[in-house]
């Protein structure tokens, strides 16, 4: 929480102020500055904090589920492709059997396995076809068609080939019979024919070019031996047709095998494509799971932390402000910026504080009134004391004058001249006494004419004052100790008034010590030579604490009548104040009293 405060009165506080008649000065109401505030309640914040990590987990889970589902589907496609491959292998096995045996049975097997393949193809749903790829399927269908067509052609070719083989054999036998009947020229021997027939069988058995070339050479020899052998011609023709038929069959077999391999390639391609897709899905699922896990591990704790902070922040701010308020600053108010449950808490708290402040102010006012009354009462008592003092002090000399005058009036005729002089002197001295009292009084109230101030050495004034009372100290058996520096300290003052101050205090000290004791006078500079301190201490009876506060009051005295008017210390105080100084007293009953007079040192500007 920052210590930066802003002075923002809220409308709520104004309402409260007007209602409770609190001081409406908005500067009085201080609010804690708050950071960025969210307009959310605590439970909203909690839900956000919990929901976001849960959503991450949920999205990750859903996506993973989707991918796994896809993988499952693709697996069935792979199965489908594998099944087709099986069918195609079956077809090709039948193809091989047919090529080997050239039997109609195997041809039928082949056709039946092709029908099964076609059926299984047509059983695949269009959706699956779309998923796997239309192109592959149409190519597959076309290839099956072509393959099947090639097989039909081959079958027809085989039938033709059988006919040709039969014709070759028959013509061979006819040629054989012709030679055996010795109707042919002698060169065309039986051995030659038998060799020819062996070469013919070889060719039929191996169907290769070598065998054919050997047969063809033998046939060419016939032509050489008998250029126009009519009985030989059909056989030669038939042998040539056989060669053509064999070539044609080989071409068709080649086509068939190419188409069969094409079929295998397509199904293999479909299966491998689906496997690739499955691998890609698995890879993506793997990455997604990793990402979700990463987000959960990083964002999750971050969100939980942020949520906790957002929830706790307003409570913490409230706690901080309550702490500050408890330390005594009643002008502070809880911020009303939150929009969560702490708002009403802060509001109630502020209302409570308003009441508290109101009560506090009312109490302070009562205290002030009480204090004013007390001061008034003290003033009255003080005035009464002053008047009583004046009365007492003036009535005594007046009474003396009155009694003396009355006595003179009564006994005038009987009185000697000396007596009369004494009486008149009494009247004069008592008048002087009254005048002095009035003078002191005027001095105290400060209405006397201005005292002349001049630059003077205070050390000298202190020493002169001590000389004035030296005799009194001796008579009263009082030991004097001084601690006065052998230096000159100038003050702006009036020597006789300052002497009056010091003498007054010393005389009081002498009275306090009665017949024995020690008076200590100490002069020392203070506060970096700005002031001078004069300390006058006695080892007298001391002043009780309750009386200390009154000793500078006029007419306050503990001395017997005649020993003091009660104006001494009040006049002393008044004189020190006139010198821009200060007088302090500390005392312990039974140990003594110390008066400290502080006077400002002379400055040229004064």
């Amino acid at each position: 929480m920052t210590d930066d405060y802003s002075l923002i009165p809220t409308s709520d506080s104004r309402i409260l102020n007007s209602h409770f008649h609190l001081p409406s000065n908005p500067q009085n109401i201080v609010f804690l500055k708050t950071g960025v505030s969210m307009q959310l309640k605590i439970w909203h914040k909690m839900i956000i904090g919990i929901t976001i990590p849960s959503l991450i987990a949920l999205v990750g889970g859903f996506l993973t589920y989707g991918y796994i589902n896809d993988v499952k589907n693709r697996q069935s496609f792979v199965q489908l492709a594998d099944d087709m491959k099986e069918h195609i292998l079956e077809v090709r096995r039948n193809e091989k059997n047919f090529l080997l045996h050239k039997d109609i049975e195997y041809y039928k097997y082949f056709q039946s396995s092709v029908s099964i393949l076609k059926n299984s193809l047509s059983n695949i749903s269009p959706q699956t076809v779309t998923e796997i790829g239309e192109d592959n399927f149409s190519r597959l269908r076309q290839s099956i068609q072509t393959y099947s067509g090639s097989m039909n052609d081959l079958y027809v070719q085989y039938q033709h080939e059988t006919d040709v083989v039969e014709k070759v054999r028959e013509d061979g036998r006819k040629l054989e019979n012709f030679v055996a009947a010795k109707r042919s020229p002698g060169e065309l021997s039986m051995n030659f024919i038998l060799n020819l027939r062996r070469l013919e069988k070889n060719y039929m058995l191996f169907r290769d070019k070598g065998s054919y070339n050997a047969l063809d050479n033998a046939l060419m020899q016939i032509k050489n031996i008998i250029p126009f052998c009519f009985e030989c011609m059909p056989y030669i023709e038939a042998a040539r047709d056989l060669s053509e038929a064999y070539n044609q069959s080989d071409l068709l077999i080649n086509d068939l095998q190419v188409n069969g391999e094409g079929l295998e390639t397509i199904t293999y391609k479909i299966a491998s494509l689906e496997r690739q897709k499955i691998n890609s899905f698995l890879g993506r699922t793997h990455n997604l799971l990793l990402l979700a896990l990463l987000l959960l591990c990083t964002l999750g704790p971050l969100l939980v932390y942020k949520t906790a902070t957002y929830i706790v922040a307003p409570i913490k701010r409230l706690a901080d402000i309550t702490k500050k308020i408890s330390e005594g600053d009643l002008n502070l108010r809880a911020p009303l910026k939150e929009h969560d449950e702490t708002y009403s808490l802060a509001q109630s708290f502020n209302t409570m504080l308003d009441h508290l402040q109101l009560t506090h102010q009312s109490l302070e006012r009562s205290l002030e009134l009480l204090h004013e009354k007390q001061v008034e009462a003290e003033k009255r008592a003080s005035l009464g004391f002053l008047v009583s003092g004046i009365t007492h002090e003036l009535n005594n000399p007046l009474n003396n004058i009155s009694l003396t005058a009355e006595t003179m009036k009564e006994d005038l005729n009987e009185m000697t001249l000396e007596e009369m002089k004494d009486y008149i002197q009494d009247i004069l001295s008592q008048s002087e006494r009254a005048k002095h009292i009035v003078g002191d009084l005027l001095e105290f109230v400060g209405t006397r004419k201005t005292t002349v101030m001049e630059k003077l050495d205070i050390v000298n004034v202190v020493e002169e004052s001590i000389k004035l009372v030296a005799n009194q100290l001796r008579v009263n058996n009082i030991n004097l100790k001084t601690n006065i520096p052998n230096m000159v300290f100038f003050v702006n003052g009036n020597a006789s008034k300052l002497e009056e101050v010091f003498v007054n205090i010393i005389v009081n000290a002498v009275h306090a010590m009665k017949d024995s004791g020690t008076l200590t006078v100490c002069v020392k500079p203070d506060n970096g030579n700005k002031n001078i301190l004069i300390e006058i201490s006695d080892t007298g009876c001391g002043i009780p604490e309750k009386e200390l506060k009154n000793i500078f009051e006029p007419f306050y005295t503990t001395k017997p009548v005649g020993e003091g008017t009660g104006l001494g210390l009040s006049v002393t105080h008044s004189l020190v104040t006139k010198h821009s100084g200060d007088i302090n007293v500390r005392s312990r009953v039974g140990e003594g009293t110390t008066f400290t007079i502080k006077l400002p040192l002379y400055e040229e500007t004064v």
Partner: protein
């Protein structure tokens, strides 16, 4: 009882004692003046006095103390208080403690004289 009444005057203002002694002696009283309460109480221990005229505010032994001591010793004694400190509360206190009268300074001798005469009359009436 001797013919002349014995009067004691106590005041820490010596002039008061001197002037009153002269005036009262002329009226035929036997007068002794004391400055302060201490010597007065000492004298009161040893001698008989009929009337005491005492100031009130006098250092350690004040008029009130003198009044109490004198009344304890001799309840018939007449104590007249003279004071420059004219507060009603003080006067009431003194009268409650048995003071005969309370006179405020400055006073005319005639005033005191009347009070002393009255006290004398009362004393004589009691004797008779």
């Amino acid at each position: 009882m001797p013919d002349k009444l014995r009067l004691m005057i106590i005041d820490d203002e010596p002039i008061v004692g001197k002037r009153l002694k002269r005036l009262l002696e002329k009226d035929g009283y036997n007068v002794e003046a004391f400055t302060g309460g201490t010597p007065a109480l000492e004298a009161l221990e040893k001698q008989h006095f009929d009337i005491i005229i005492t100031d009130l505010m006098m250092g350690r032994i004040d008029g009130m103390k003198v009044l109490e001591t004198a009344k304890n010793k001799n309840p018939d004694i007449k104590v007249i208080i003279i004071t420059g400190f004219g507060k009603k509360e003080t006067a009431d206190e003194a009268l409650n403690k048995g003071a005969f009268d309370f006179i405020i300074k400055p006073f005319k001798f005639e005033e005191l004289h009347k009070v002393v005469k009255k006290a004398e009359t009362e004393l004589k009436a009691k004797d008779n």
